[in-house]
Symmetry: D2
Amino acid sequence: MIRNISVQTVDVRTPGHLIDGTQAEYVRVPFAETSVYLLPAGVSPQQGTLLSDILPTGHEIGVRYGQVKAGDVVAVIGAGPVGLSVIATAGLYGPSKIIAVDLDANRMDKAKTLGATDAVISSDDDWKEQVMAMTDGRGVDVAIEAVGIPQTFAMCLDIVRPGGHVANVGVHGKPVELPLQDLWISNINISMGLVSTNTLDTLLKMVAQDKIVTDEFVSHTFKLEEIVEAYDVFSRAAETKAIKVMINAQA
Amino acid sequence: MIRNISVQTVDVRTPGHLIDGTQAEYVRVPFAETSVYLLPAGVSPQQGTLLSDILPTGHEIGVRYGQVKAGDVVAVIGAGPVGLSVIATAGLYGPSKIIAVDLDANRMDKAKTLGATDAVISSDDDWKEQVMAMTDGRGVDVAIEAVGIPQTFAMCLDIVRPGGHVANVGVHGKPVELPLQDLWISNINISMGLVSTNTLDTLLKMVAQDKIVTDEFVSHTFKLEEIVEAYDVFSRAAETKAIKVMINAQA
Amino acid sequence: MIRNISVQTVDVRTPGHLIDGTQAEYVRVPFAETSVYLLPAGVSPQQGTLLSDILPTGHEIGVRYGQVKAGDVVAVIGAGPVGLSVIATAGLYGPSKIIAVDLDANRMDKAKTLGATDAVISSDDDWKEQVMAMTDGRGVDVAIEAVGIPQTFAMCLDIVRPGGHVANVGVHGKPVELPLQDLWISNINISMGLVSTNTLDTLLKMVAQDKIVTDEFVSHTFKLEEIVEAYDVFSRAAETKAIKVMINAQA
Amino acid sequence: MIRNISVQTVDVRTPGHLIDGTQAEYVRVPFAETSVYLLPAGVSPQQGTLLSDILPTGHEIGVRYGQVKAGDVVAVIGAGPVGLSVIATAGLYGPSKIIAVDLDANRMDKAKTLGATDAVISSDDDWKEQVMAMTDGRGVDVAIEAVGIPQTFAMCLDIVRPGGHVANVGVHGKPVELPLQDLWISNINISMGLVSTNTLDTLLKMVAQDKIVTDEFVSHTFKLEEIVEAYDVFSRAAETKAIKVMINAQA
């Protein structure tokens, strides 16, 4: 089973998005030779799988588009797999704080293991005040949306400081409202996008040296013949506490 | 009469915005010594006035936030004073095309004098097709909003290419809709903001050398005692074809 | 016969440098499909030939490595083919002055046709004072070396302002001296390199629109059977006033 | 007595360089109000003293001018106070390796406490081979000179990869040789300069959070009346193992 997927920003017909995905015995990947990497010593096939999509997504669309830099306070709204990828890779840029914001206390623990310095439960009435207090009232330098609904996008706009960045990583199904009547004067920058994996080389080096923690991403591993059960577990993530579910054809 | 205004991004209580403006015989400008420039030879007081606000706004919030670079196709939605400022300063960055989009054919002529290479009348049914044809169907690299209403912001989103920039310069009074269900995958970047005039030094040099054309900005000049008439002319801009109205206390 | 050559920074065995060149009926270019461009309408084969090496060299190693930006004063030491390429492409970045410095008054005229705003004869005793006077005594923002000998490199260090850039484009045969005892405190930046042609897409667009002037580069054109004469003319450039010599196999 | 010194790049007559320094009861610092910072909670006066000069020098002239980025291999030639400052601040940018190179094994231990991942003794015959082996033979991405003599500058040129950066932090007394006959093709970038402390705000935050280790910098502390002894200890650093010597007027 071939697993490495060539994802190209310029072609929205990427496997698994607008055309069929790659759950097949053989896959033809156009221009695959432009995106194949050798796994270096110290990177397991399981880590390699995380590096094919989720870690570069958090890194490129969250951390780099959000322009995280030394000393920044970063808030990540949503601590699901993609939010955790943002948290796991943001530390490469020297932020002073990484604040995880989520409904789920369980995910907060994982977030802290991966590098979050602070956690805020988003169902708290004063969640915003808690975040603002961590920035001396200024607002965060970078707010990263990792859920994909209007409420969480609005939360980012609520807490970003004038001159800061909002990086959208979530996949949205509906329009959001942009209160330009308030924001036009605030010099914020809003980014969004699909991963291109052009930072994979850097991420491979950092994972090989344990500078990116990857332990927490795979909550469940199944054999190929258990794939139906795997999908079931993943579909009931709140109940099963699934983060990423791995199918290991060699097991 | 003192005219040079210190505008600071960090302080929204700038004169003329949330506190009273500067139409007075004397004005106290806090920290004014940090933003006073000597007019070099070759820059007239009238040009200096344009450099205190409108030209840096177009340059900083439109051209630089929009990251215009060599070879880019740039569309400017709105050819009023601010849009014309964008057009007049974009040429410093080597774009291959500067497309002015406006309802008013009269303003198009001014736009072309100032550096626009192409013009599209936005009331044409096929205005979008006209713009897209100028980019071989790809969309523009940078779309700059210089009006301040939801429709013109939406026009920018309609014509920007994947990976491109939307720079909002307009002052808005209402929220706009951001169709994130379509845009999340498009790797576009949206910016907005209030001018800080931190590029004034560069602009002074370029105006002194006639590399920025400023002739078209001041459509009417009045003496101080004609100020009421000046406001009247400016308030009926569509009819009077006013762009910027200058009060010259020395005249 | 006109041939497009793939030049790759990562492989110093580029044709014509450490291995044989491409004066043959057929050439095998490894990975050529990664660097072939369609000539757009408005770009002649002759212009295409200039775009395969000389114009991107001036643009990438001179202008971009030198970080020319709006308002800068740029000095180009040497107005041979590569120096002229720097001058022809620097205008895309909005410099306030482009000063050509050369021994040869003939080349100065060409430099001015291509975009130089000022010219200084380097055999003048006061050449340095002339350059400094054009910068109000501060020194140039960017000094670009386009000859390849120690004297011209030293000239760049002599005229660059604190905080400025020295971009070496010349191919050198000997070491140069770097007076670090004076320079360590001056915050200058020194770059050098071989072209990668990764800006060819931009340059093609600008040539197609006549925003880069290319008329002056080809001083002589020969048929394929006159190639020996062509080399002779090129080898006596001072006498023949040769800039670039073109072989046109179709002629 | 601890004094905050305003150092300005634009004025080489900075106290302690070309005019007398500040060992006096009172000091007049022109424009001092532009560079005074409040020490935040968690930063001691001793740490504040390190932040007035040495830490920003390593950070600005070494790490930032050297453009250290995520995944880079960085070599620091010289593990004296300034080299240690480079090492202590480079980690903010996510390098994969920080290699300390020095003659003195004692300093290597300090380097590792501050963040160096590897150490090479520069008197080893095969020091270069040791460094190259740590980069799979490619050369380091960034080589930082923190001594100030021709040999150590040459060492940087010897180990930097094509396309890499050499950042000079050392104060030199003699010219160095630049072998441009070899380097012109290598696309390396060379920087140098005097600190401006424009990153002090970021460094204060990072020290306040213990993300920059500062313990190792002050090897000796003296009272004001012991200042003569303090100078003596500092002048015999090899013997006394002095790194930085602190005078504490409050002790």
